[in-house]
Every structure is written in structure tokens, then in C-alpha cells.
């Protein structure tokens, strides 16, 4: 029989549906595009991520690998069909435990868990881990997902919503969680206007090449599509996150500077585009010499004419006299080389564009809606007011979705055609064209006196920033500020350079270079402690920054929690030492972090609008994009306590550049602190205004009651006259100062701190590392929501573990999720989080940032534990088994 004739009947979630799809079509695509069942997510189209997991006759399969023809006549269940009692109980457990962060993997996780729970009602952790082994999560570190699966049978009550004024510190369920768990959340690929054109990108297959187009018009006409190139761009074909250094074309002009760079767009109707083959597109390439490594970059002709030596920028911080190192009793010197690291969020970039009158609307996944708006407006030659960015839910970001990707591209197509359009990056598109973590080549010398007190440090790092500037300057500036670690370092000289190559563009990735620098510094600390004859934890504690201490930038710090973190690890450290002594191959390690929250010495204000409508609804315009970390929930919790309302009283609007004021980008661990502070100020301002209008005292209660707002104080009670509504708007910008030529100044107003302890086992014959247990103590100032905070820690540790042990993006070679490895559920250790609350004098209710801090200590602590276990000093990351084994041999020969 031939199946490609008439429409077929497919039974989904117990309902027979007519489907018009060729039987060789991917089931995932047919479900999403033809049946509108978009709860099934697509992350890789290769069976590598499991996001599209559905149940076929009860068995989990990847819908992306399943032909429609094989699903006909069988029982097919998707996330939309989860409604049985046990399934609802599982979903509630996901909400209760915070098992969904960004939510893009959640449908796949749920379907995999349902298959398990049908056979095993009360699974063990090992069974749960095994059941979700085929679904990648980049946010959670899997711990809370496994917690939820194992606890689903309990069908416990949802977390109670706290009363007014008691939201901070409450582990409430995330406010945007229901849609993520129901599969109804709208990610970048999940919405498009009817009849939207599909857009695909033609990319450079060369590292560095000149190109010329042939008869593009004829090619396009023959295929009933439209082609757009750089010459069609009406504005300035140049964008960049740091405007003075903007250098990246939306579509390359005549020369492509990295493999994967966009050179042309093809747009057409969906049916045409499905069959379109870009092979044979009329373009002639003339490859040029290229540089991929930092050393090649330094020696190569400038990739950008104004940047000789391919030097983008140098960052430098110095204090005291680093020559004092010469007199130190003990010295260590060493270097570390790290790899390109891919963000590997499970949601490839996607979005849609359409015109609303003369306003271009772009709905896409992003971390930085206002920057997207401004960059897109420049490229398209529009005033900012004519571009509106409506962030879709972001299926993970971790820094890479700060830069525009497809926004100017789909904007261009819609602007020029007047038609709505949409684009969904393939996994390969995403991996070849978006930013990476900077590979770092770092060396340092650190010295201490005979008593183990630090004397000084010299640090030098080259960071491969790829073909365009992106966040290279931020890395070059952040690294010298942080390379000392959270320790008192009286004499210091640190320099970091961002060097252009024809490699992938390196940008922001959770920590902006600081995780790489911490690997260099924290591993050398272990050697220095050994030379000084001090316990590794005690050595760190001995040198830890204390309140009032001055950093290498000359800033006196207050609310410094690093010593508290290390002290909290002390009892675990003692236990770990006993554990390690029990078997060969066991090792333990420790490492610390500090991290400044917000932009480095640059303004980064957040503005919050808060009000009560005439109908008595409390409305929070919340412009901070929640990429899974929980800003929607945390910002509301802060605002609620400042105002004295319940979280449940709030309606959230935004983010949307057409509706919400600018809360800046979701990066630099700034949203809890900066936007949270603006939300606190807004809450206080609204409270003051309400009390003023009702002439009530400071301690009055503001009660939202079915459309009325009633102010109560003891026996007094007054109904607020709402009129047309009452609105306040408050802005907060961290008080920082510029850094001078020696890097002296106040780069950040708030820092967060942490330390992690790792226990691991090294397979002594194979060099394979299994991390057994991590205890993570993080000073968050004030834990606004402890479940969200520990979720950040667990997820950060997963990324730190990947950085240490398996993640290496090799340009041209690992452009998929089976050659580029991120941790699976089976690779994660047990994690115990300790939340330290040493209030920051500036942060809202004492809170500090956390999002990036959490992955900084993990990799160096792992490397320190490997060295403890084996003597091996792994200096090139990741510590793949063959590198560990080679380092073990080298250590034996030392």
C-alpha cells in the first residue's frame, strides 16, 4: 500500500484526527504544524535531546525520528493528553518541586516519567534518573525533576501562598509554571500569524571567504521564493551589544568572517519552503586565509581593519606592587586552557514577525528585549518606536540570547514584504551561528607568605573572541576584576585580552570569562596551600575577603559572605576527607567564587511600573525576561512585601517593549538585585501613595478584595478611591563608577559569593571521572525564593560539571547534540545546597545575585578533586578520560 494519497486518520490522546501529512514526515512536525499540538517541543531533530518525546503504544519515542506513517493506527499520547489522576499528580509535583525552569524540556520529561510511573508507582531515584536519561535539560541539573518524579505518588497539596508581607523567603511555586507544565507555554517556535512566510538562512560554509552572488533573481523565481541579501537592508547593516564596538552585519557583505555566518535569507510559503533545497544557491565562494586559535589570530592579518593584531580590547586591573611576589615565601605558577563551550539550550532560536499598523512586531526568544529593539531598528532604518519586541518564553538562554539572532532577519522580511513571517533555527543553525563561551588561555603566578597569607598575584589571559566583538569587551573587563577570587590580594596585576579569530563569535555565557579565570586561580590555590602546608579549605578561609576589606579595584566591600560559605562547608569537608580515604581513586576538592552583579562600571537601570487599575486590580509591569531563572516570581515576591500585598493579588504584564518599561537585559546576575530593587522601590512608592490618599499610618494593611482596595489599621478601615487608577514608576541603577587606567573604581555595587565542595571518583585505569556529591554554599544575601535559588545552584553545577568534564565545541565538528555532550541525568551527583544569607547593604531586602555565581566554583573544585585523587593536574579542559589518564601519567613522572 502507498500511504501518501489521501488524508489519514491519526489517533492522538484518544481522539481520531484527520491529518494531511506525508507518511515520511517527522511526527513532531506534523503534530505541531498540522494538528496545532505544539506542546511537543523540537530541540534537535536527531533524537539527541528527547524534548519531543511522545508515547506510542505507551512507549516513549522521539517524535522527530518517528514517521507519521508509523504512528497511524496506533495509540499516541502527547503532553496535551496528560489528564489521568497519576498524570495530574506528576504535573503538580513538577510545580511543587520547581522541576520546570525554562520549561522547554518539561513535556519530554513528563512523557518519559509517565511511561515509568505506569509500571512503577513509587520509583527509586535510580529508576527516575534512568527513565529521563534520554531527555536533556540544561537548566535544572535534573535534581528537582527526579525529586518530582519520585514524589509524584504522594499527590501533596500545592505550596501555600503566603499572607501579605510574608512572600520573601517563601518557596512558592513559580508564577509562570502552569503553562510550562501543561505544555501550553509559547516559546519562539510556538506562535505565528496565519500565512506567515517561512524564512531560512543561507550560511557561509567557510571560515573566512569572499563571496559573490550569481543570478539570485532567477533562482528565486524558479522556486517561487524571495531572496534577501545585505543590499536589501534599509538601515545600517551593523549590530553589536556594545554600540561603540558594533561590528557584526545582519547579513554579511562580500566577505564572511566565520563558518555559519548569515549571507542571505530565503522566504516563501510554508509548502514551498518545506521542499526547498538550498543546494545550488547561486553564490561563489573564494576562501581566504583563516585563523582559528588565539595564536593564529594574533599573527593573522586583521579581520577588522581598525584592530591590528586582531586585538579587540585589553582589560587591566592592578593594585599595590606586584613585584612583592618576588619576596613571597611560596609561589606557584601555572596555566589553563579552556574550550569553546556551547550554551546548548534546548530551544533553538525561533520567532515570528508581523506588522501592526506601521509598527514592526517581533515575537522571539530573547534575554534582552530593549537591546533587540534598538539593534533591529538600526539595521532596518526604523525609529525605535516603530519596532516592538514581544519576548516569547525563552527555552533557555544562559547568555547567548542576549545578542540578536533572527530578530533583524525576520524583521527585514516582514518589513520588505509586508507579510508576516517566521523562522525556526535548526539545531545546526543555532550551534554554528550563535555565540559561545570564550576559550581562554590563562597563566598566573600567585604567592603567599610563610603563614599562608596571600602576597600577590599576576594573571594574564587571552580570550578567543571569534569573528565579531559581541561581549568580548565584557569578558576582557570582568576577568581582571575577578581573577583574584574572593580573597584579599594586596598586590595584583591582571590583564585579559579579547582576540579576534575566524572561529565562532564568543559572547556571554553565564559568568563572562570569570569561570575560566577561576579555574586558573582556584587550581593554583590548591598547589599554594600545599606549599604553605595548609589545609585547602583553611587556606581559603585564611585569605577570604571580610567586611571592610578592599578589592584589587580599590573598592571596600560590605556584606561579604565568602567566609560564611567556607565555614558552612567545614563539617562537610571533614566528612569528605574520611570518605576519600576509604578507597583508591577518591578525591575531594573545594573552590570559591565571587561575582559582581550588574554591568561592569556601566549604567544598567531597571524601571518598574506598578499600579492599581480603576477596577481595583493590582498590576505589575515586569520587564525582566524570565528565561527560566524565575524573575517573574522573584520580582513579584519582592514587590509584594514592599507594598504589603499578597503575591496572589498581582497581575503581571510583560515583558513587552510596547507595554513595559525597560528592565534591562537578563544577564550579569542582575535581575533579582537591580530589577528587584526597582520593584521594591515601586512597591514602597505605591504603598506610600495609597497610605497618603487614605491618610493611614505606616503600619496599615492594604487589602485587595474583589475589585476594591481596603486599607485597614486596627479597627480603622477605609476603601481607597481608585478613580482612573493609581500608578507609580521607579527606576534603580546600581551605584558604580568607571574604572581608571589601573582598573581602580567601583565596578559593581553588589557582589555575591559561594564555595563548593566536590567528592568524586576517578577510574584509575580509564581516567573517567564520576562526581559523587557536591555541597554548595552560596551567599545570596537573602533567599527571596529558596526553591528557585537551589534550582539555580543545581543547574549551574550541571553546567560547571559539563565545562569541567565533557563540553568542548569544536568548530566544524560538533554542530549537534550527539558530538557536543552536555550532562545527562546519569552524570549528575547528589547536590546539597546551603543558602547563606548575609544581607547586602544595597540589594533589595539584602538580596544578591546568584545566577552566574553557581557554576564558577564547580569546574575548579572538580579539577582540584581529580588532583587530590590522582595527582593529575589537568590543564586543558574538558577533562575527558584520555586527558585525565595522560595527566595521571605525567604526574607519576614528575
Amino acid at each position: 500500500m502507498s500511504l501518501d494519497a489521501a488524508p489519514s486518520i491519526i489517533t492522538v490522546n484518544g481522539t481520531a484526527l484527520e491529518i494531511r501529512a506525508n507518511p515520511g514526515r517527522r511526527l513532531s512536525d506534523a503534530l505541531r504544524e498540522e494538528l496545532g499540538l505544539r506542546g511537543t517541543k523540537v530541540g534537535c531533530d536527531a533524537g539527541d535531546c528527547g524534548a519531543c518525546t511522545v508515547l506510542l503504544d505507551g512507549a516513549p519515542v522521539c517524535a522527530c525520528l518517528t514517521p507519521v506513517g508509523q504512528a497511524l493506527g496506533r495509540s499516541l499520547q502527547t503532553v496535551e493528553g496528560l489528564g489521568a489522576a497519576a498524570e495530574l499528580s506528576l504535573k503538580r509535583a513538577f510545580a511543587r518541586f520547581g522541576a520546570a525552569q525554562c520549561g522547554i524540556c518539561t513535556p519530554g520529561m513528563l512523557m518519559s516519567a509517565v511511561a515509568l510511573l505506569r509500571h512503577v508507582a513509587k520509583p527509586t531515584r535510580a529508576q527516575a534518573e534512568d527513565a529521563i536519561g534520554g531527555v536533556l535539560c540544561r537548566c535544572t541539573g535534573y535534581t528537582k525533576i527526579i525529586d518530582a518524579i519520585c514524589d509524584a505518588w504522594r499527590d501533596a497539596e500545592p505550596v501555600a501562598m503566603p499572607p501579605a508581607g510574608q512572600s520573601i523567603g517563601a518557596a512558592i511555586e513559580r508564577l509562570d509554571g502552569v503553562a510550562k507544565i501543561d505544555g501550553t507555554e509559547v516559546f519562539g517556535a510556538d506562535y505565528w500569524p496565519q500565512d506567515a512566510l517561512r524564512v531560512v538562512v543561507l550560511r557561509s560554509p567557510h571560515w573566512h571567504a569572499d563571496f559573490e552572488f550569481g543570478d539570485v533573481a532567477a533562482w528565486a523565481e524558479a522556486r517561487a521564493v524571495q531572496v534577501f541579501t545585505a543590499k536589501d537592508i534599509p538601515g545600517k547593516n551593523c549590530f553589536g551589544v556594545i554600540p561603540p564596538l558594533a561590528d557584526q552585519p545582519a547579513l554579511a557583505e562580500a566577505v564572511a568572517r566565520f563558518r555559519g555566518e548569515a549571507v542571505a535569507l530565503v522566504a516563501g510559503d510554508a509548502a514551498v519552503m518545506r521542499d526547498l533545497d538550498l543546494e545550488g544557491f547561486p553564490v561563489v565562494w573564494t576562501p581566504r586565509a583563516h585563523a582559528l586559535s588565539v595564536d593564529e589570530g594574533k599573527a593573522a592579518a586583521p579581520i577588522h581593519a581598525a584592530r591590528p593584531g586582531n586585538l579587540l580590547i585589553t582589560g587591566r586591573v592592578t593594585c599595590g606592587d606586584v613585584a612583592a611576589l618576588d619576596g613571597a615565601a611560596h609561589h606557584v605558577t601555572g596555566g589553563v586552557e579552556t574550550a569553546y563551550v556551547e550554551h546548548a539550550y534546548i530551544e533553538p532560536e525561533a520567532g515570528a514577525a508581523w506588522m501592526d499598523g506601521d509598527v514592526l512586531v517581533i515575537q522571539a526568544c530573547t534575554q534582552a528585549p530593549v537591546m533587540d529593539r534598538d539593534d533591529t531598528a538600526v539595521v532596518l532604518g526604523l525609529p525605535s518606536a516603530r519596532v516592538r519586541i514581544v519576548p516569547s518564553a525563552a527555552g533557555g538562554g544562559f547568555g547567548s540570547k542576549l545578542d540578536v539572532s533572527l530578530q533583524p532577519l525576520i524583521g527585514l522580511v516582514t518589513l520588505l514584504t509586508g507579510r508576516p513571517c517566521r523562522m525556526v533555527y535548526s539545531r545546526r543553525d543555532s550551534m554554528v551561528s550563535t555565540t559561545k563561551r570564550h576559550p581562554g588561555q590563562m597563566t598566573a603566578t600567585i604567592g603567599c607568605d610563610a603563614a599562608g597569607k596571600l602576597v600577590g598575584m599576576r594573571f594574564d589571559g587571552d580570550f578567543n573572541t571569534g569573528a565579531y566583538a559581541s561581549w568580548g569587551p565584557t569578558v576582557a573587563n570582568r576577568v581582571p576584576v575577578h581573577a583574584s577570587g574572593p580573597y584579599l590580594m594586596p598586590n595584583y596585576l591582571a590583564e585579559a585580552r579579547a582576540i579576534h579569530t575566524n572561529g565562532p563569535v564568543s559572547g556571554a555565557f553565564r559568568g563572562f570569562g570569570v569561570p575560566q579565570a577561576a579555574i586558573c586561580q582556584e587550581t593554583l590555590f590548591d598547589e599554594l596551600a600545599q606549599k604553605a602546608g595548609l589545609d585547602r579549605l583553611e587556606f581559603r578561609l585564611h585569605n577570604a575577603l571580610r567586611d571592610g576589606d578592599v578589592t584589587p579595584t580599590g573598592q571596600a566591600l560590605h556584606g561579604v559572605g565568602i567566609a560564611d560559605c567556607l565555614e558552612a562547608l567545614r563539617p562537610h569537608w571533614a566528612d569528605a576527607q574520611e570518605w576519600a580515604a576509604q578507597a583508591d581513586g577518591r578525591g575531594i576538592g573545594i573552590a570559591s567564587c565571587w561575582y559582581g552583579c550588574g554591568n561592569t562600571s556601566l549604567p544598567n537601570p531597571s524601571t518598574i511600573r506598578l499600579g492599581i487599575t480603576g477596577a481595583g486590580q493590582l498590576v505589575l509591569h515586569q520587564g525582566a525576561t524570565d528565561i527560566g531563572q524565575g524573575a517573574n516570581t522573584v520580582v513579584t515576591q519582592i514587590c509584594a512585601d514592599a507594598l504589603g500585598a499578597r503575591v496572589s493579588d498581582f497581575e503581571l504584564i510583560g515583558p513587552d517593549t510596547g507595554l513595559t518599561p525597560d528592565c534591562g537585559k537578563t544577564s550579569a546576575s542582575r535581575q533579582t538585585y537591580v530589577t528587584g530593587k526597582a520593584a521594591e522601590l515601586a512597591g514602597l512608592a505605591l504603598r506610600a501613595e495609597v497610605l497618603r490618599r487614605t491618610n493611614m499610618g505606616e503600619d496599615a494593611a492594604i487589602c485587595f478584595e474583589d475589585g476594591a482596595v481596603v486599607i485597614r489599621r486596627g479597627a480603622q478601615s477605609e476603601r481607597l478611591d481608585l478613580g482612573d487608577g493609581i500608578w507609580v514608576e521607579e527606576t534603580y541603577d546600581p551605584p558604580t563608577t568607571a574604572l581608571d587606567e589601573n582598573g581602580q573604581g567601583t565596578p559593581y555595587a553588589v557582589y555575591g559569593y559561594g564555595a563548593q565542595l566536590v567528592k568524586l571518583e576517578v577510574d584509575l585505569a580509564l581516567g573517567k571521572v564520576r562526581v559523587d556529591h557536591i555541597v554548595a554554599a552560596h551567599d545570596v544575601g537573602r533567599a527571596i525564593n529558596p526553591v528557585l535559588a537551589t534550582g539555580q545552584i543545581e543547574g549551574g553545577i550541571a553546567q560547571g560539571l559539563g565545562l569541567a568534564l565533557m563540553e568542548e565545541y569544536v568548530p566544524g565538528r560538533t554542530e549537534n547534540l550527539h558530538d557536543y555532550l552536555i550532562p545527562t541525568s546519569g552524570d549528575m551527583p547528589r547536590i546539597d545546597s546551603i543558602l547563606i544569607e548575609k544581607p547586602d547593604p544595597v540589594g533589595p531586602f539584602g538580596a544578591k545575585g546568584l545566577g552566574e555565581h553557581v557554576l564558577i566554583p564547580t569546574a575548579p573544585a572538580i579539577l582540584n578533586a581529580i588532583r587530590h585523587a590522582t595527582g593529575a593536574r589537568v590543564t586543558r579542559l574538558p577533562a575527558l578520560p584520555h586527558r585525565v589518564l595522560a595527566a595521571m601519567k605525567a604526574a607519576r613522572h614528575d
Binding site: M1, L3, N22, P23, D45, G47, G50, V61, G826
Partner: protein
């Protein structure tokens, strides 16, 4: 462009004789190889053919239909000699892949890292090839000729994997080494099957994958093991090395692979006897 999903093998063979459709089974290799949302060209989906799926015991051999899925193998009641194959099935990709991917597909895809091949090599497996013109069979070791290369002829389909009863004696074990636990392509893997008498190795079948273009048996090492104690044996590392031709790639370097193969071999043999 057409898509056929016949119920009968004869219909499939007729389609194969008439054209050169791409044979589709679990789809776990075909879909990752395309960026398109549907398979292009003529497709012959063999998963509707009941005769190609399942495990039967007949005529002096165990017959595993080519479209038998990994999860079918895991669930099957099979002699201890198949433990290595079952263990490998549990390590193919993920549960999702095991529920779709087939043994025949794994063989025909002929990856150097095909998880099913070493465990089948130690079972002296043969592949059955059918076409409209008739049947033939080839030892698995001869069927796969190189990286992504087999002796499958136009018009032919792998219909089954056949394991002679003589090769189902003893016990077996399998180990796969990768940089992470699930969804991983191996750095090296080893399958071993042993027969023993009172703690002495009577016969050994050993195979290593991912350390050469095609997984290999180790006849010289197998011979060297005969007569040694299962609890205390020496692996002649030089003989292992001679059988392999490992490469440097993103997962490991060649030197490491060669060394790891010997270690894995030792552990796999130790793992055979519980």
C-alpha cells in the same frame, strides 16, 4: 516520491526490485541525517512486516528479525550468551532510541561505534539477505566491510540476524566506555563470551568496537585465554593492539583507545562470571 509500508516481505522485495527505495526501519539514523522535515525520495518502511520482527528459536539457530527493536531484545527471554547483546541494547542512545531503533538498522548503518555489532560478533552471528532473486547469508564480520560500508546489494534487504546454537553456550558481558552516561557514542566497547570448566576458560569469544573502522573479533587473544583461570588471567596486550586500528577524534585519542581497550577487555571478561 512515495512512501510504502507493506505488510508482506514479498511486497517489499517487489518494491526493491522495481526501484531503489531507501529502506526505513526505526528512523533513528535516517532522520538525523537530514535537515528536512520529511524523508525525501522513495521510502520503503519495513516496520509493518511482522515477519521481520521478533526472535524465534528454530533449526539449530536463533533468528532475530532485522526489524526487532532494542527494547524487544531487552525484554526477550534468551540464553546467557545473549547478555552482552542485551546490555548493549540498554546502552543504545536512550530509551526513546531503544523503542524505535532496530538491530538490522544498526548493522546496515555500519557505524564503527554500532553498539550491536561487538555482541553479535561474539555470537558468531550471520546476516540473512533476501531479494526478489532469493536468499543468501553472510557472516556479520564479512557483511560489514568498513565505516558505513556493507555488502548489501541493490534489491536486497537484511531480513534477520542468525545466531548458531553452537555459539550460544557460556555467558557473556558487555561494557561501553563513553564520556557520559546516556545518549553517548562510545570511545570503546567490548563484548566477551566465555565457556568455562571449573574456573578454567574453555573457550572465549571477544570483540572490540569503536577502535577500528569495523568492530573486530580477537582470535589470537581468544586462543591465549584458553586454559587460563577465569579469576586470574593475562591479556596479551600486544595481541589486542595488533587487532585494532584506533583513531584520534573528538572523543579520545588513538593511544588512549588502545590502552582503554585492554582495560575494558579485562573488566568485561571479569564481568562474565558473576
Amino acid at each position: 516520491m512515495s512512501y510504502h509500508r507493506p505488510d508482506a516481505l514479498t511486497d517489499a522485495l517487489a518494491l526493491l526490485a522495481a526501484g531503489s527505495p531507501t529502506i526505513l526501519a526505526g528512523g533513528t539514523d535516517l532522520y538525523p541525517a537530514t535537515s528536512a522535515q520529511e524523508l525525501r525520495g522513495d521510502i520503503l518502511d519495513i516496520t509493518g512486516i511482522a515477519a521481520l520482527r521478533g526472535i524465534t528459536d528454530a533449526a539449530g539457530e536463533i533468528r532475530i528479525g532485522a526489524a526487532t527493536r532494542w527494547s524487544d531484545l531487552v525484554a526477550a527471554d534468551l540464553p546467557d550468551a545473549f547478555d552482552a547483546l542485551k546490555l548493549s541494547a540498554r546502552e543504545v542512545g536512550s530509551v526513546q532510541i531503544q523503542n524505535a531503533g532496530t538491530l538490522g538498522g544498526n548493522i546496515c548503518n555500519a557505524s564503527p561505534a554500532a553498539d550491536g555489532v561487538p555482541p553479535l560478533l561474539i555470537l558468531d552471528a550471520a546476516v540473512e539477505l533476501v531479494s526478489a532473486a532469493g536468499h543468501r547469508r553472510l557472516p556479520l564480520a564479512e557483511f560489514i566491510t568498513g565505516n558505513r560500508a556493507t555488502r548489501l546489494k541493490p534489491g536486497e534487504i537484511v531480513s534477520a540476524v542468525l545466531v548458531p546454537k553452537a555459539a550460544t553456550a557460556g555467558r557473556s558481558h558487555f561494557l561501553k566506555l563513553g564520556a557520559r552516561k546516556y545518549l553517548v557514542i562510545s570511545i570503546a566497547m567490548v563484548a566477551a563470551r566465555l565457556e568455562e570448566d571449573a574456573g578454567v576458560i574453555r573457550s572465549a569469544a571477544l570483540s572490540i568496537g569503536s577502535c577500528s573502522a569495523v568492530a573486530v573479533r580477537l582470535p589470537a587473544v581468544e586462543r591465549a585465554l584458553i586454559g587460563q583461570s577465569v579469576a586470574d588471567f593475562d591479556i596479551p596486550a600486544d595481541l589486542v593492539g595488533q587487532a585494532l586500528s584506533p583513531i584520534d577524534d573528538i572523543r579520545a585519542d588513538a593511544h588512549y583507545r588502545a590502552e582503554a581497550a585492554v582495560e575494558l577487555l579485562t573488566r568485561t571478561i571479569k564481568g562474565v562470571v558473576p
